[in-house]
């Protein structure tokens, strides 16, 4: 903790300071990346620390996003409470999915999460009269206000994204050093053994799904509030694959890995989309190369070689 705490606090301070230094384009990008990194950190709790590979995290992101968005458009809730409704929706969905999907393990778990996520996507399309299907809907700029602060303003948006990111980062850091976090890591390494030692692994896994789904949902709700758009594309398969890719690239089971992965991938796609429409090719190549040559990801390798204490 002596060395880890300054590192992570330093990162948070750096991101805060960058706000004043970055040109407008990268400033906007970084706000987006911090929200996506929050999504990835949520994913990391399940995949990186507990060893549960979900192929359906888009459903939690979308649950948060639509929970927030529909509360605003259908019920006329202000965005502040609507954000909380979004988080509650994601929590409820992760409870249902957790209770059902955790009955399976391994490949079946991956497919079940994929199927549940696909079901949510199709449900969004099916209720197209409310959700406006593929097209999605905007959150009006006039309603995107919390306590008089205009969240569509770039500076305030950056600050809000930074706040969400920082809270999640410190929360994850605290989690992985707490007794529960230790049990999760034990489950990842050897579930049978963790159970033999007397830990209630089922309950620990369920809490991992709950935390992971809720954080991912918070990212989805924040994305909707900050960027003013709610759409079904966020519930589709690529948005289940992205967090997996970011976490794998940055380093599964490291606290700052998700940010590093999201940052790298975002700019890699940004650069390649200038060259070709087929920018998802970059995603495919990155996935194959990572599984072949660097299954531990960037921060994983840093930890292996230099910083053994990296949480």
């Amino acid at each position: 903790m002596k060395r880890a705490l300054p590192l992570h606090l330093g990162l948070i301070v750096l991101l805060f300071a960058l706000q004043f230094a970055l040109p407008a384009y990268h400033h906007g990008n970084l706000a987006r990346i911090m929200v996506m990194a929050t999504f990835a950190m949520g994913y990391n709790i399940m995949f990186g620390y507990t060893g549960l590979l979900s192929l359906g995290h888009a459903m939690f992101f979308a649950a948060g996003m639509y929970g927030m968005g529909l509360a605003v458009t259908q019920l006329g809730t202000p965005v502040g409470p609507a954000f909380l409704i979004g988080i509650a929706a994601a929590f409820a969905l992760s409870l249902i999915v957790g209770l059902l999907a955790l009955r399976t393990i391994g490949v079946a778990f991956m497919i079940v999460t994929l199927m549940f996520s696909q079901t949510l996507f199709l449900t969004i399309l099916y209720f197209g009269s409310i959700t406006r299907g593929d097209e999605g809907f905007g959150i009006k700029q006039a309603t995107r206000q919390i306590m008089g602060l205009d969240l569509s303003d770039p500076t305030i948006r950056y600050f809000a994204a930074w706040l969400l990111f920082s809270l999640t980062l410190m929360g994850t850091l605290w989690l992985v050093r707490s007794p529960l976090g230790r049990v999760l890591i034990a489950i990842r390494e050897n579930e049978e053994r963790a159970r033999m030692l007397g830990y209630d692994t089922w309950r620990a896994k369920l809490s991992a799904v709950l935390m992971s789904g809720t954080v991912s949902g918070a990212a989805g709700a924040a994305y909707g509030v900050l960027f003013g758009y709610v759409g079904a594309s966020f519930a589709q398969v690529p948005y289940s694959i992205f967090p997996l890719l970011w976490v794998l690239l940055g380093g599964a089971g490291t606290v700052i890995g998700p940010l590093i992965g999201a940052l790298f991938m975002f700019y890699l796609i940004d650069l390649s989309s200038g060259v070709t429409d087929a920018y998802m090719l970059v995603v495919g190549v990155a996935l194959v190369l990572l599984t072949l040559f660097a299954p531990k990801g960037m921060m994983g390798m840093v930890r292996e070689r230099w910083l053994k204490w990296l949480p």
Binding site: M115, V283, G284, T291
Partner: protein
Amino acid sequence: MEFGPHLMLAMLEGLVQASVLTLTALGLSLVFGVMRVVNVAHGEFYMLGAVLAWWVTTMLGGNPAIGFVVALVVAPLLVGLMAAAADWLVLRRVEYDPERTIVATIGLLYIIQQVTLMTYGPDAHPVTPPFNTRLALPWYEFTDAGFQIYWPWGLSITSYKLFVIAAAIVTCLGLWLLMARSKIGLILRATQLDSETAQAFGIPVERVFALVFGMGAALAALGAVLVVPIQQAHYLMGGDPLLLSFIVVIIGGLGSLRGTVVAAILIGMSDGIISVFFTPTLAKMLATLLVAMVLVYRPQGLFGAKPA
């Protein structure tokens, strides 16, 4: 049209879909059964089969029948070789670890899909069917004059669609003969049962895996070549077959070929029928949810044996 003929038509369309689905799902099931890995790129091999079929028929020109027959051989062969190469270059090197294989095949999915987008383009292209006679079908009714047969307007099937059904049946029989009666089948079954023991008995398991991965992809490609005169070839067409194949393989019991065939017919038919009478979105939604539930409560599938 009245309900009776309408249902009949829906069932015939469902049967055509079921035939293609059977081939695609058999490929996925074969790979899972022998190699114990899930190939997420399976739908893209299907798409490649359709695109190659278009490419072959366009290159050859002339009589559509000749181009089609060539495509029927060339497309699955090429796709099979590509898949075998992918197995050798990627899957073998991650040692068929289930999780890493899934991540790697997701990568393959995007690579294949996007390279197709870059070369073949975003448009859908049709392939002319080799023959396409419309065959009207009779229906019956009871009137005051007694039992009568008549030809309702719209109740028909094309000769090509009948050919698709026949081709699927022949392929299934061929695959069954291969698995049950040939030396290769014996080797495949031995590897499926216990790959380590098979290796100890001198079976080159790595090469068997490459063969199986190639065969699985070739089956998907064959299904796609058959379907492409009915549906057009498009770079995003692999999504639905992948999802449906997953559903079929799970319902049929992971790794059981017989279960796969039964489930493919069941799912293909009901998908066809439900899509005619209800919205396709609702049909897909319910099917997906149902399958997730099957996996949760009956992981061995509806027809699979209880795990030992």
